[in-house]
């Protein structure tokens, strides 16, 4: 459970779990120093307020310590250093290493080659191996890759291996979970203040738990497997402040599409993205995961949301390991700060072929579509399906195009079939989807988000126009090079399915 951590320094923002007051306790703006970025980063602020500029107040305690951001603090603790600055290269102790069926075999190969065939991993309890990418396929190599994972987990006695053997029926596999980033959260492997590395770009998703989480390649992962450490450079932090009540037609996906459209696909390269503000605080964990998930689409190294009562509540029944949340100091330095007045935002899409090709959904209403895809770590969680169901429920009509539903994990699949949708008189998502004429929810995995082997369910094998709740829309992302992918929130995806055109969900949500 959460341990309370009270720091003696008045400048620190370590807070006891029991007394957490949320960011309303902070003078959130006046003490943040904003450094102007040397590069041509867009400073356009989409909001009513301009960035606050203020002098950094001199330390009053006589302590030499400078304020650090959340990310800097996490890396400081993980590298056992009292103080870090952006740009420092430090050896970091890794709390969790995650890998899956696409990159696991390669990482294992490197580990064995470099450390020895009979070497043991650094800690059999800190490695989580989650087959999720190419699972329900007859591709022999894909199947073999899951076998490679299994062999390694057996010989190394890896504690957390979410295996699958019976590909014809996912339910026959009690250990199998599905999409790694969602499984990490659901199985309690994400804890505030920790360092989690994964061989997948969307590892940044679990920064939603107030931890440092980022993607690495096979070679780095092979190194971590043997040593439990990695050399990382401390990133500067971009702060995104979102205040205001979340309009009923917006979801976290819209927020992150707004941000990526604002700063571009390279706007956060090598930087940390910190999300704060009353809007962020109002988001549940899965919505926060969506926000952090697409940090990599802006080039970001990691995303963080400060842990609060929402986080602790989520973790209550999931992890029994102690953890210590960290928070940005009031005097921490941020490279830039962006402020958004959420009440002014509207549902968005990212048009082909880039996640920063932002447009208002309502301005794309003449774009005829061929299909809708609801799934992936970005948009295939329980909350995402509840959101889509809400739109179908409000409409009461049937979809006009094939609508593919791919729950991210077994748990999400169960929720889709058991949770009652608010305002529906007790109907489940699955019932609502069926009544709306959607495809039956498929076996949980990454599915067609990234195309995959040719026989992957819902893969785009011909040039089609698709509205998708996934994370990337570069050419060929879902299969066919000439495919056109519009990235959108589950609300927008469901609305579009109902009309056969890219549609603003306000058409259905009153």
């Amino acid at each position: 459970m959460a341990s309370s951590l009270v720091s003696p320094s008045p400048t620190s923002s370590f807070i006891s779990n029991k007394k957490y007051l949320g960011f309303s306790a902070f003078p959130s703006t006046s003490q943040i120093a904003i450094h102007k970025c040397k590069k041509r980063v867009s400073k356009k602020i989409v909001s009513v307020m301009a960035p606050q500029q203020s002098e950094r107040k001199p330390a009053t305690t006589g302590s030499v310590k400078t304020g650090m951001t959340m990310t800097e603090k996490i890396l400081a603790r993980a590298s056992e250093k009292p103080q870090l600055s952006p740009g420092d290269n430090v050896w970091v102790n890794v709390d969790i290493l995650m890998t899956h069926d696409v990159c696991g075999p390669g990482s294992i190969g490197i580990f064995k080659k470099e450390f020895g065939e009979n070497e043991k991993v650094w800690d059999r309890e800190k490695i989580v191996i989650i087959p999720d990418h190419y699972i329900f396929t007859s591709d022999e190599r894909a199947n073999r890759n899951v076998d490679i994972l299994r062999d390694f987990c057996t010989e190394q006695n890896i504690k957390y291996f979410y295996d699958i053997k019976d590909l014809s029926n996912f339910k026959a596999n009690p250990d199998y979970k599905g999409v790694c980033h969602v499984a990490l959260a659901q199985e309690g492997h994400c804890r505030p203040g920790e360092v989690l590395l994964g061989t997948d770009s969307h590892t940044c998703t679990t920064g939603a738990f107030g931890q440092f989480a980022t993607g690495i390649g096979n070679t780095d992962a092979g190194f971590v497997l043997g040593t439990g450490k990695l050399l990382l450079k401390v990133p500067t932090t971009l702060r995104f402040v979102m205040d205001g009540e979340m309009p009923h037609y917006l979801l976290a996906k819209d927020l992150i599409l707004q941000i990526i459209g604002e700063i571009s696909v390279a706007g956060a390269t090598y930087k940390s993205m910190e999300f704060v503000g009353t809007t962020v605080e109002s988001l549940n964990m899965e919505e926060r995961m969506t926000l952090c998930n697409m940090v990599v689409e802006a080039g970001g190294k990691n995303g963080v949301v400060p842990a609060d009562s929402t986080t602790f509540k989520y973790l209550e029944d999931k992890t029994s390991l102690p953890y210590e949340p960290v928070y940005s100091d009031a005097q921490a330095s941020f490279l830039s700060e962006y402020r958004f007045d959420i009440s002014k935002l509207e549902p968005l899409v990212a048009k082909p072929h880039s996640p920063d090709n932002r447009a208002l959904a309502r301005e794309c209403k003449d774009v005829k579509i061929d299909r809708v895809y609801i799934g992936s770590c970005t948009g295939g969680k329980t909350e995402d399906f509840l959101a889509a169901a809400k739109v179908f429920l409000a409409s009461g009509k049937k979809v006009k195009v094939p609508t593919f539903l791919v729950p991210a994990t077994q748990k999400v699949w169960m929720d889709v079939y058991t949770l009652p949708v608010p305002g529906s008189g007790g109907k489940t998502c699955a019932q609502i989807f069926e009544e709306a004429g959607c495809d039956t929810p498929a076996s949980p995995s990454c599915g067609a988000c990234l195309g995959g082997p040719k026989d992957t369910y819902a893969r785009m094998n011909e040039p089609k126009v698709c509205v998708s709740t996934t994370n990337r829309n570069f050419p060929g992302r879902m299969g066919h090079k000439e495919g056109q992918i519009y990235l959108a929130s589950p609300y927008t995806a469901a609305a579009s399915a109902l009309t056969g055109y890219v549609t603003d969900p306000r058409e259905f949500l009153q």
């Binding site: 430090v90 190969g109 190419y134 997948d200 770009s201 070679t219 450490k229 080039g299 570069f474």
Partner: protein, 259 residues
């Protein structure tokens, strides 16, 4: 792997570095990993033209080069000479190696070669000249010239591996996405070089170019123009050694491979 390199200038230095470091190889990795000895913070200051990510990678490797006579990285005589293949901005990992080929495991030699045969196959058909001809498995272009944010998207290490396996020696881009850059250095598959201007707009696929690593210079023989590159710095020896493990071994940072 990068095989067109002259190792002469480095071998002597590496052995001298190795003899200076006192590492008794114990069975397990962590105890021999003398982190305090290899403090990245004692590195001599790098050129001011470094962009954040180039500087970052150089500092990774300098933990092995803290002896006073650390190798000046621009003493390299490495050159690349060959045809260049020009691409645009934001070439993401799905274009470099589409997801359907990710079932190939890079550490498996046969599959490594196969990966190479699919390098850049994901580029749209607007690229009329393909990186690898239809019935070939290797590329005739040893240098890829790109725009901004090269390698964005996935963390798949298959991306730099595919390029290296195909026969590319270096990428010269305006800027890189971080995971791709990091993977390029860690694997030693391709040199991720950065240009100061948008070379991708001034070179054409099929132009004959020379890259002089030591001079940080690219020469396009078809146009006669020369371009300044950002020095690869300490990332160079890592790539030249064959990646981060090979480099760490060569410099005595980690024990020799156990059989």
């Amino acid at each position: 792997m990068c095989d067109s390199l002259s190792h002469a200038s480095y071998s002597a230095t590496f052995s001298s570095l190795a003899s200076k470091t006192s590492v008794s190889p114990p069975p397990l990795f962590p105890p021999s990993f003398k982190v305090p000895t290899f403090s990245p913070l004692t590195v001599k200051p790098l050129s001011s033209t470094f962009t954040p990510h180039a500087a970052r990678v150089t500092t990774i490797t300098t933990y092995a080069a803290t002896s006073p006579s650390s190798v000046p990285s621009d003493a390299s005589t490495t050159t690349f000479h060959g045809l260049c293949y020009v691409v645009g901005d934001n070439i993401d990992t799905d274009q470099i190696i589409p997801a359907e080929y990710l079932t190939l495991v890079p550490s498996n030699p046969a599959e490594y070669e196969k990966l190479g045969s699919y390098a850049l196959i994901g580029l749209p058909s607007s690229y009329a000249t393909r990186f690898i001809e239809p019935n070939e498995i290797k590329t005739k272009y040893s240098i890829v010239i790109g725009g901004a944010n090269f390698g964005c998207g996935s963390s798949r290490e298959h991306a730099p591996v595919a390029l290296g396996a195909a026969g590319a020696k270096a990428v010269v881009a305006e800027s890189y996405a971080r995971i791709f850059f990091r993977n390029s250095v860690a694997t030693g598959e391709v040199y991720p070089l950065e240009s100061e201007v948008r070379i991708c707009e001034e070179c054409r696929t099929g132009d004959m170019v020379t890259i002089e690593l030591g001079e940080s210079r690219l020469i396009n023989h078809n146009t006669g123009k020369e371009y300044k590159l950002k020095p690869i710095g300490d990332a160079g020896p890592v790539i030249e050694a064959g990646g981060i493990f090979a480099y760490a071994r060569k410099t005595g940072m980690i024990p020799p491979q156990s059989k």
